[in-house]
């Protein structure tokens, strides 16, 4: 595979996927080449490979013009380290810090080496994802003394701080925001996450494939389908399992249903956050109709556990297809009316426009991704450029905006609701006959796979390794919020504090998905 001038000796590893192993020095060179070619680093994680006769491993997933390159480097048992990549891809900063907290693998010469996921549940010299760390080892023992997190302080005349969270005033996930403000203007925002860290990655260890699929779907519940599909795609790749056509089409149907549900909810809340309760009530009425139909057709309002290794666990009959198509058409019509109202509402437009701006150049430099990225001219959508089945037969239209403000992120959601509803019509009309599930059986030797799905929030990746006994050895689920959280810190600069909830909602990032 060529990136820039060089051939990087990466082997094809499934559709639009490439796989390679290299020395850490080469990893650094590859990162530079990807950056120069306009690509991104979308995920970085580590592994303990000592039980396989190696040391540790560091893994990166690079987005390039030819697809996703999954690259690994072996690290020594003693003092495992790799060169800092955050000076090339700033978005990887927290991923590097989390990798140290969980595995003791250090990014050499990194500017920011503060802890990230570690608060008080384990000590500085303990590493939960090492195989010799028992998941129960610190259970019931007193919490180690909290070593305070070193926030970056802003000093100056009239500057003061507002600490918010971890428990927030609304129904949202827990995290801490430290605002430095002057008057009502935000001079700096620093996020402190990791509160919902519940040992998800450790929990995967030793599970069978089917149970792992359920856990993957609960990495971030609102992106259940994206994670469970990415996980199953990884497992199927590891087990050389071919998913029946009908199952692949049903998975895409579920993914688009999930996208519509989340976008409807967000469009309602965006209205609510500018005091247009009407918008909330209308969009959530539509969302509720949508969820109830999912429950009736597929047995679950959020389609939990509908995707299983090898295929899907539920089908749709002709009556169901007609019903879903009809509701999709009604919702498309109503959303058109509501969009007209949002467009015409001067108060709403005034609050949305020029609020929480992330300019395209900055978005590219810092790796903004997914729907927020597309609102800042980052025209990446795996369904369009690197489609897996059945998207390769659907001709998906990408929604892109360039103003990078709350309005742009709302516009991308509107466009994606319409496009997803159109796709749902196509998926229902052309749904192939056939089996729902194929056997997905581990090979009996250690094997690995990677799944990559464009979820509603953005590119959702799951990489996994299956042990010789068929259980899960290492699973890393990657939520696009990893890249986007730091951009929220940038997007709020110069805005007033009361606009923070609106800006935050316009990104709608996952806490659980990155706290793991």
């Amino acid at each position: 595979m060529k990136i820039g001038e060089n051939d990087w000796n990466l082997e094809p590893f499934g559709k639009h996927l490439w796989r390679g192993r290299m020395e850490t020095g080469q990893l650094l060179a590859l990162a530079r080449a990807v950056k120069e070619a306009g690509g991104q680093l979308v995920a970085l994680w580590g592994s303990d490979d000592r039980h396989l006769g190696d040391g540790f491993g560091i893994h990166g997933a690079f987005l390039t013009g030819s697809g996703l390159a999954w690259v690994s480097s072996a690290l020594p048992v003693e003092a495992p380290a790799y060169p800092d990549l955050a000076h090339i891809f700033p978005q990887v900063d927290r991923m590097q810090r989390a990798t140290f907290d969980l595995l003791g693998i250090r990014a050499s010469d990194a500017v920011d080496d503060r802890k990230w996921l570690r608060h008080t549940a384990w000590a500085e010299n303990e590493f939960p994802l090492r195989k010799d760390f028992s998941p129960l080892s610190t259970l019931g023992s007193p919490l180690p003394e909290a070593d305070a997190y070193p926030f970056l302080r802003v000093d100056g005349d009239g500057v003061h701080e507002i600490p918010v969270g971890p428990i927030h005033a609304g129904t949202i996930e827990p995290g801490h925001f430290r605002f430095s403000i002057i008057g009502d203007r935000i001079l700096k925002l620093e996020e402190r996450l990791g509160y919902t860290h519940k040992g998800t990655e450790k929990r995967f260890e030793g599970l069978d494939l089917a149970t792992g699929a359920k856990l993957a779907g609960r990495v971030s519940g609102d992106a259940h389908t994206a994670f469970s599909w990415a996980y199953c795609m990884a497992a199927e790749s590891a087990c050389a399992c071919r998913v029946p056509d009908r199952a692949a089409w049903l998975r895409a149907l579920f993914l688009e249903i999930e996208r519509v549900a989340n976008h409807l909810g967000d469009l309602g809340y965006l209205g609510n956050d500018v005091a247009l309760a009407f918008g909330f009530m209308q969009f959530w009425r539509l969302k509720e109709d949508w969820l109830r139909l999912s429950a009736r057709l597929f047995g679950h309002r959020y389609l939990f556990d509908c995707i299983v290794p090898g295929g899907v666990a539920t089908d749709i009959d002709n009556a169901g297809r007609a019903e879903l198509r009809a509701l999709g058409e009604r919702i498309a019509g109503e959303v058109r009316e509501l969009k007209h109202i949002y467009d015409e509402h001067t108060g709403l437009q005034d609050r949305f426009a020029h609020t929480g701006i992330v300019k395209p150049e900055l978005a590219a430099r810092l790796g903004l991704t997914g729907l927020a990225g597309r609102a800042s001219s980052q025209a990446w959508d795996a369904r369009v450029q690197f489609p897996c089945a059945p998207y390769d037969q659907l001709d998906v239209a990408m929604a892109v905006q360039k103003s990078g403000d709350v309005l742009a992120r709302a516009e991308v959601r509107f466009a994606e609701v319409f496009e997803s509803l159109r796709l749902i019509g196509q998926l229902l009309a052309r749904l192939p006959d056939g089996e729902l599930r194929a056997p997905c059986v581990p090979a009996g030797t250690p094997c690995e796979g990677l799944g990559w799905i464009e979820g509603w929030r953005g590119p959702t990746i799951v990489a996994l390794r299956i042990a010789a006994d068929g259980t899960l050895d290492r699973v890393h689920p990657h939520d696009p919020s990893w890249q986007n959280w730091p951009l929220l810190e940038v997007g709020v600069l110069g805005n007033i504090v009361p606009d923070f909830p609106l800006i935050n909602k316009s990104f709608n990032l996952s806490y659980s998905g990155v706290d793991l």
Partner: protein
Amino acid sequence: MATHLILQKMFRTGFVSEPAPAADLALRTREQHIHADLLGIFGQAVAIRHVDAGSCNGCELEIHALGGAHYNIEGLGVKFVASPRHADLLLVTGPVSRHLEVALKRTYEATPEPKWVVAIGDCGCTGGMFGESYASCGRVANVIPVDVEVPGCPPTPLALLEGILAAVSAGVKTPAAS
């Protein structure tokens, strides 16, 4: 002008909490039952503080859904508040991460008596798939006293309402031993 479009849309939408299809009819009966019961017991609003103590955010989706027009919870006398000091009832999702153990205890202590705790979701009730580990305290009851547990992954909005009712029907509880 947006105003006449909004009014038109509201007029055309009408009241969605009215029974239309058969399945919704059953739901509406239940809502009215809860409504009457709440008024009978409490005679005033029940103020709820939601606490995400480590959930995957699935349960939060259904708490949000409760705020929609179909469920009309404010019409039922149930209101979500921004501070535990204003709350009668804590609606807690789990599993309780060890990183939120202290925050959850403090939230509980900040809630005035009499107070109720409703743990929701399979994780809040049992620890769910995450169980107990170096990072997870498991079920909510492992950390603070719990009055009602509403299982489900996630529990439906209707199940949440039933759980809230079950809590306030238990009457005034003696202060927690802690």
